[in-house]
Amino acid sequence: MEAALECRQLVLSYPRGEQVGPISLEVPRGVCAALIGPNGAGKSSLISMLLGLRPPTSGQAFLFGVETSAAEARIGTGYVQESVELPPNSRALSLLRVHASLCLGEESQAYQNPSGYLQEFGEGLAGKRLGAFSKGMRQRLALALAMLDARRLLILDEPNNGLDPAGIAMLRRKILELKKSGVTVLLSTHRLAEIPTLADLVFVMHKGKLVGSSSIDAFADLDALEDYFLKLTP
């Protein structure tokens, strides 16, 4: 069976000479992989290439065996981006409906009853204009949009941004539920404390390169994980 997520010598060169890669990695199906690294390590660029949002300069990326340049590769995939900017004049319901109509169809429950679906992610998301949303509310809505169709893969880029403790607990619970149902999760985060609870694998990026990967079982505790991270990202 193909890996959920695979990169082969993936490189992204920026016009000013900076480069991410070459990166080769594989994430098996049904596991949660944490992607960690300092700011500017290239985590978001890697995620963009994995989702087909940025065509790589060279190399290949696959989701469930399909090259990510093909739209079919993203079927059943949910994504939360690093900084959530949503159209300020929209309302959560219309945004949710367009996403539900694209990935689940207009007969789906989320399309027919978007308020009910949004309720799972927090109170008061359905009413206001998005321009009046707090950062935490925007993040909750982004999570709701991502989890609409995360049947195979959920990619989270700094999903804790702006969330209150209740929101963080909700996110943790949702990730564990999805993982239990066989969904693969790629979690890019700076919060190392979350990783032992959620992740099975850890990938470390530094200066555009993948500098380490390990099973979470290799770390006795959070301190061991922190030491590993600091050693690889001096």
Binding site: A71, E72, Y79, E85, L86, P87, L102
Partner: protein, 275 residues
């Protein structure tokens, strides 16, 4: 939720996806303040219809007949409507390709199982739907106001929607194409700078001979640029013989080719664009 297995994975057809994105984008475009500002200006303009047809106008000691007034009114009125719809079209394009363009929700949509071409055409289709809506409203109100104040039921005016929408399609598709290379304000500036040039050169080409009492003006290179002014002349010729020039079909063909070029080149470029 659909079942969590590869065989149960769904997804919608590219046409359906494009239509749904366009529907959402059109809703977003129509929700902005530009529509209300456009409609307010349109109302002010239509009040002018009343002034023109209820008062007495005298030129060189002779009262202007209703028929003559109608000819000039059509020329000036349609030009103003086109100016307004063009401005509204540009406002919609600037807004839809502005701050949130290819960020935020656009990226989330692109992360769905939707191809880049479908997203590109869907996004553009939404802007087009909004400006077509404004065009239909403006021409319809023009016809109603003319009938109301002058008693002339010139229902042929409604034909003007077709050339106006063709011109708007060219404007929007060219805007989205240029937006692949330049910022939205720069593209807006280029359009604002080039549109008067196109109008002046095209209208001189088609109507200049009347003023100079000569044969048609010689063909020149500006006629290879999008002939927005030529399309305007074609539209006026549709409803009034006074404005009719047989050669204006070239402008329609010219605009059609530019739309085709902008759509194909824009979609091809967007497929490889860094987001």
């Amino acid at each position: 939720m659909k079942e969590n297995s590869p065989s149960g994975i769904g997804g919608v057809s590219p046409w359906t996806a494009g239509f749904r994105i366009a529907r959402f984008e059109a809703g977003e475009a129509l929700r902005g303040t530009a529509l209300w500002v456009g409609l307010a200006v349109l109302t002010l303009f239509l009040l002018g219809v009343k002034g023109l047809f209820s008062g007495d106008f005298v030129l060189n000691g002779q009262a202007l007949s209703h028929q003559v007034r109608l000819v000039y009114f059509l020329g000036v009125g349609y030009s103003m409507l086109t100016f307004l719809t063009t401005l509204y079209g540009l406002a919609v394009c600037v807004e839809r390709t502005g701050t949130g363009y290819l960020r935020g929700n656009d990226l989330l949509l692109l992360a769905r199982p939707v191809s880049r071409s479908v997203f590109y055409f869907g996004k553009m289709g939404g802007a087009l739907a909004a400006v077509f809506f404004f065009s239909v409203i403006s021409v319809s109100l023009f016809w109603v106001a003319l009938y109301w104040y002058s008693g002339v039921n010139l229902y042929g005016l409604l034909w003007l929607v077709a050339p106006q929408c063709l011109g708007l399609a060219a404007l929007v598709s060219l805007f989205f194409w240029l937006r692949q290379f330049l910022g939205n304000v720069t593209v807006f500036f280029i359009c604002i700078a080039l549109l008067p040039f196109s109008y002046a050169s095209n209208l001189w080409y088609y109507y200049g001979a009347t003023l100079r009492e000569s044969l048609q003006t010689a063909w020149s290179w500006p006629q290879f640029l999008p002939q927005f002014g030529g399309l305007h002349a074609f539209a006026l010729g549709l409803v009034q013989d006074f404005y009719f020039r047989p050669a204006t079909w070239v402008a329609v063909a010219n605009i059609g080719l530019w739309i085709l070029l902008a759509l194909v080149a824009g979609a091809l470029r967007f497929r490889r664009r860094l987001l």
